[in-house]
């Protein structure tokens, strides 16, 4: 079962036929997911929520490459997200680029800024780097807000896109986003397994040893920022279209922190964890806005909040529950959802011992 026959098997994407079969089944599931949602309303999901989750998953993967694998922190990813969104929309709106050209360009614009932000990161660590990147995220949105070119404070309407003459709807965007997300996930998994990914992890674990082994710290640290920003920029471009309207105010500081929370809760240094974290956080964020619909405890919580904490109740208690779930996960499973998955796997492997 676990016998390796050649070295390639260690870097293969599908390490066994079981994984291959499951992956194909999962892809089929993703293919029919919109149909399932429309017919059965799985968990009360809409295609919009799934799209949002997928986009957040791309961001989380990008951010995990930086935070989880390279060990650099960023609290300014909403800035890259905004850059991606505005670049895509402007390219299509002003110069009528097709989406498949505008999106990569947005990714590269974003990664260019990532590279620039990566330069001070060479000398900064931990809390200091957090503050520097925080400043970056806030500056980007402020600049965008004050420039007429970007639509100023009013923001921009995302142009309507057409697919073979018919306007694209959520369901069409679903397939576009999902294909991009799957490709980018595979890309990240492969990248981590090869030379560049190893250099990233080496820098995280011991930058002094990595350097003594011939890893150029300047190059790889800025590269990590650029790759991370590329992922986020692409996701930002897609985000503009499912939202339909973008304004600088929506790319705020809390967004950057939520991205970071997705990565930590999903599991630092795990691609699959990032996806799980993005899914959980996005799902909770949206579902908790309607917390009064949760049977039994929902109304009680809302009444409690209305009585003691605020007049409206719902928004207040939703945030509290959201925060509580985050605290509980980090407290009981420091490795996040990924850690939970590993433990479950080990449990079944050794069952019934």
């Amino acid at each position: 079962m676990d016998i390796k026959r050649n070295y390639y098997e260690d870097i293969e994407l599908f390490k066994s036929n079981t994984i291959l079969v499951w992956s194909i089944l999962f892809l089929i599931f993703l293919g029919i997911l919109p149909w399932l949602i429309q017919k059965y309303h799985l968990l009360g999901m809409s295609i919009y929520i799934v799209n949002l989750i997928t986009i957040h998953a791309i961001v989380a993967i990008g951010l995990n490459i930086l935070v989880g694998y390279t060990g650099q922190i960023s609290m300014g990813h909403a800035g890259f997200f905004a850059l991606g969104a505005f670049t895509t929309v402007i390219l299509i709106l002003r110069w009528s680029f097709p989406l498949w050209v505008a999106l990569p360009i947005a990714g590269f614009v974003s990664s260019a800024f990532g590279f620039i932000l990566g330069l001070p990161a060479l000398r900064l660590k931990g809390p200091y780097l957090a503050i520097a990147t925080l400043g970056f995220g806030m500056t980007i949105t402020t600049i965008i807000k004050h420039m007429e070119f970007f639509g100023g404070r009013m923001g921009l309407q995302a142009p309507r896109l057409y697919l073979f003459g018919t306007p694209m709807k959520d369901i069409h965007y679903y397939y576009v986003i999902m294909i991009i997300a799957v490709l980018m996930t595979i890309g990240a998994v492969k990248l981590i397994k090869t030379r560049v990914g190893r250099a990233f992890i080496a820098i995280r674990d011991s930058d002094i040893a990595a350097e003594a082994m011939g890893v150029n710290l300047t190059y790889y640290k800025t590269l990590a920022f650029a790759v991370s920003a590329f992922y986020t920029g692409i996701a930002g471009g897609l985000y503009a279209f499912i939202l339909g309207f973008i304004n600088p105010e929506s790319f705020h500081l809390i967004m950057s922190i939520t991205f970071l929370a997705m990565v930590v809760i999903g599991g630092l240094g795990s691609i699959m964890g990032s996806i799980a974290g993005a899914a959980l956080m996005t799902f909770l964020d949206i579902k908790l806005q309607a917390i009064q619909d949760i049977p039994a405890i929902g109304p009680a919580l809302v009444t409690f909040s209305q009585k003691y904490m605020s007049i409206s109740g719902i928004s207040n208690v939703a945030v509290i529950v959201y925060g509580l779930i985050m605290i509980l996960i980090v407290l009981f499973e420091p490795l996040g959802i990924f850690g939970f998955w590993i433990r479950t796997k080990r449990y079944w492997k050794t069952w019934p011992f």
């Binding site: 390639y8 397994k193 190893r198 002094i208 082994m213 011939g214």
Partner: protein, 261 residues
């Protein structure tokens, strides 16, 4: 024959303290050259200067006649100097295998695009990975690390970690290897094995070894030449037998006999 490594008047100060003062020595190709001295004598500082972590205040370092004094650590590694650290600096959340694969970093070419997009066995990135994996397996066989191959380094015992670090340096295929107290924390048996490994590194792999070590038995057994330091000054250099009897060295280690009034 020209020396492979030549250090000239190496001087470095931290604040007001002169950690090294005009230290010069030459290492012949294929030699096992040891540096000894009491704690704080400046042994590790010499290593840090050679590998580019510290910039010396003055003095020169030549590798095969080429000035490498002011190169960055990664550039020094590319020139063919690998090292280990006194307090193990491994990539603790990587497997032994990946640690050694990182040692191959400078010999590999896969960049970001090729690394993220290879899909089949024959693609360039995969071929390269497999080729270098073969080299790493040689190092694993050489140091008998098979049992640790797929374990995370954090879970390995101290002595094994020391060996993994040595393996990582060997995977780099260096011409000169700097070993900073390789036997610290090892038991007698492991020390014995290590001694043979060091000799094999020189004899079989043809790598010049620079050794900082506190275990005098090991030093005297393996070294071709020894440099003795005290307070950043060179106090003696020569064959092991000469160093053993050298009055300055005895004074540094045992202290001076004082007349009791």
């Amino acid at each position: 024959m020209d020396p492979i490594l030549k250090i000239e008047n190496l001087t470095i100060s931290f604040g007001g303290i002169r950690a090294l003062n005009k230290v010069s020595f030459e290492v012949e190709k294929g030699a096992i050259y040891s540096i000894i001295g009491p704690n704080g004598a400046g042994k590790t500082t010499i290593f840090n200067c050679i590998s580019g972590i510290y910039q010396p205040s003055s003095g020169k370092i030549f590798l095969k006649g080429e000035d490498i004094t002011y190169l960055r650590p990664d550039q020094v590694a590319k020139k063919g100097i690998a090292r280990t650290f006194q307090n193990i600096e491994l990539f603790s959340h990587m497997s032994t295998m990946d640690n050694l694969m990182l040692g191959r970093h400078i010999h590999m070419k896969t960049g970001i695009w090729r690394g993220a997009t290879f899909i089949y066995k024959g693609s360039k990135a995969a071929r390269e990975e497999i080729e270098h994996r073969g080299k790493v397996e040689e190092v694993i066989d050489f140091l008998e690390l098979q049992a640790a191959r797929n374990q995370f380094v954090v879970n390995l015992p101290y002595g094994t970690r020391k060996l993994v670090e040595l393996g990582r340096a060997l995977a780099l295929d260096p011409e000169v290897i700097l070993l900073d107290e390789p036997s610290a924390g090892m038991n007698m048996e492991e020390k014995g094995d290590l001694m043979f490994s060091i000799q094999d590194i020189r004899d079989d792999l043809g790598i010049t070894v620079l050794l900082v070590e506190h275990d005098m038995n090991l030093i005297m057994d393996v070294s071709d030449r020894i440099l003795a330091l005290n307070f950043g000054e060179k106090i003696a250099e020569g064959l092991p037998e000469e160093i053993q009897k050298h009055p300055e060295v005895l004074k540094a280690y045992l202290g001076e006999e004082e007349k009791v009034a």
